[in-house]
Symmetry: C2
């Protein structure tokens, strides 16, 4: 856009929480409900102009967010707080707009990201829990959690994560800085993986968790885990953990 | 049934956990999904004969159970553990059969009840929680929890609970023994009511909770609460708390 046009725009940032169970992920699809689709439609109803909602990244179908960030450019005179209240009234109750605010025009919810924090929850009791079923991966086997913690600590630092990316990632640079990686718990039957990185490859966390759980089950040792991590070959990794245990916890700028 | 017939029957008891969000309550309905309906259909698929599943009591639409007890008479030779595994494979994952076992023919899941324990959860933070939305009642106003605890303690003992019963309860004796009543928390944004009684009238807990929350909000005082409890008149009580905060926690025999 030219600078004259740009000055008439406002840039509005939203902070969201959502239960991804009922959605086909973030990205708008023609027929299926998605977070972006639902929000764009409701925002357009309020601001009476077409807008494009840009998220900090896409979440897959069934993945949740405790803190997702997105932004859109608009000419509206509705103040952010009224927009937030209106949107919370218009959106289904599995999406919550926690905050809405003006941000500088050069703020971009994806390009401006410094790091993101994800969490992955595993339910480790033998019996399933019907109340948590949409928010955990249920693993019945007894896990060697200490060896799993050692695997996860190997991931910290600047590494090529090719082993843990899914096909369809394109030719994107597979090197990422893993700032923090740990396993918390078990507490109340839940083991929680926490990962913070400057960026994540496609399905990277779900592939890491699936492989680390393979170690926990005794299907693979710590040395083997390190070898496949260093092999930079997707074919070596374990299987992809299911979507419903994954939460986007924070986006830092 | 005559005694010859009776001897060929087995009485099987099930202990269930369910997320009631997707169901129109316990009792079978012709068109809507219910817990009893789903289970009876699946049990009949396994035992190849018509059965009637009798629960310890009906739960309303949207009400959950951590421990519901039911039983049915059958001629089947399938052992209870195989029945449990088969049913868990056949039922949707919002219903879990935790246990299945033979019980004496004179065991009746409703008539043999000694007491039941219910729990009611209130979410008391200002901002809603999308992940707990189906399992709590969200109350935004600041609550005077200490006065609420005093109200609840008035309910313990043998009382006429007419004030808190809903119409449609028929002419059933309104006197119940409240064995235990307390409010736990707040913890992690949740206030939990616990009630144990030898029986509950229709909507009794939801009417109690709605009225006690009215006290917490300052719309009514402790003395007024005691007066309306003693008035034995449903018209005096506050409104009925919503179904989704309520859990059947235990049935004792």
């Amino acid at each position: 856009m030219d600078s004259k046009l740009a000055t008439s725009y406002k840039n509005i940032m939203l902070i969201l929480e959502y239960d991804g169970t009922g959605y086909h992920g973030w990205q708008r699809q023609r027929l299926e409900p998605t977070i972006q689709g639902v929000l764009e439609d409701r925002i357009q109803m309020m601001v009476h102009e077409p807008i494009t909602l840009i998220g900090s990244g896409r979440t897959d179908a069934g993945v949740h967010a405790k803190h997702q960030v997105c932004h859109f450019l608009t000419h509206t005179h509705i103040d952010p707080e009224s927009l937030r209240n209106g949107l919370n009234a218009l959106t289904p109750d599995d999406i919550l707009i926690r905050k809405a605010d003006y941000v500088p025009l050069d703020f971009h919810s994806r390009y401006s990201v410094k790091s993101k924090v994800y969490e992955y929850q595993i339910w480790i009791r033998h019996e399933p829990n019907v109340f948590r079923r949409n928010f955990v991966w249920h693993v019945r086997q007894v896990l060697d959690v200490e060896t799993m913690r050692q695997c996860v600590s190997l991931l910290v630092g600047r590494h090529d994560f090719s082993t843990f990316r899914s096909s369809g990632s394109g030719n994107m640079d597979p090197v990422r800085e893993m700032i923090h990686a740990e396993i918390r718990g078990p507490e109340d039957g839940i083991l929680t993986f926490i990962f913070e990185a400057d960026g994540f490859l496609r399905h990277m966390i779900r592939n890491i968790v699936g492989t680390v759980v393979d170690v926990g089950r005794g299907r693979m040792g710590l040395v083997e885990f390190r070898d496949i991590f260093q092999a930079k070959d997707r074919a070596c990794a374990g299987f992809k953990a299911p979507a419903q245990g994954l939460f986007l916890n924070m986006v830092k700028y």
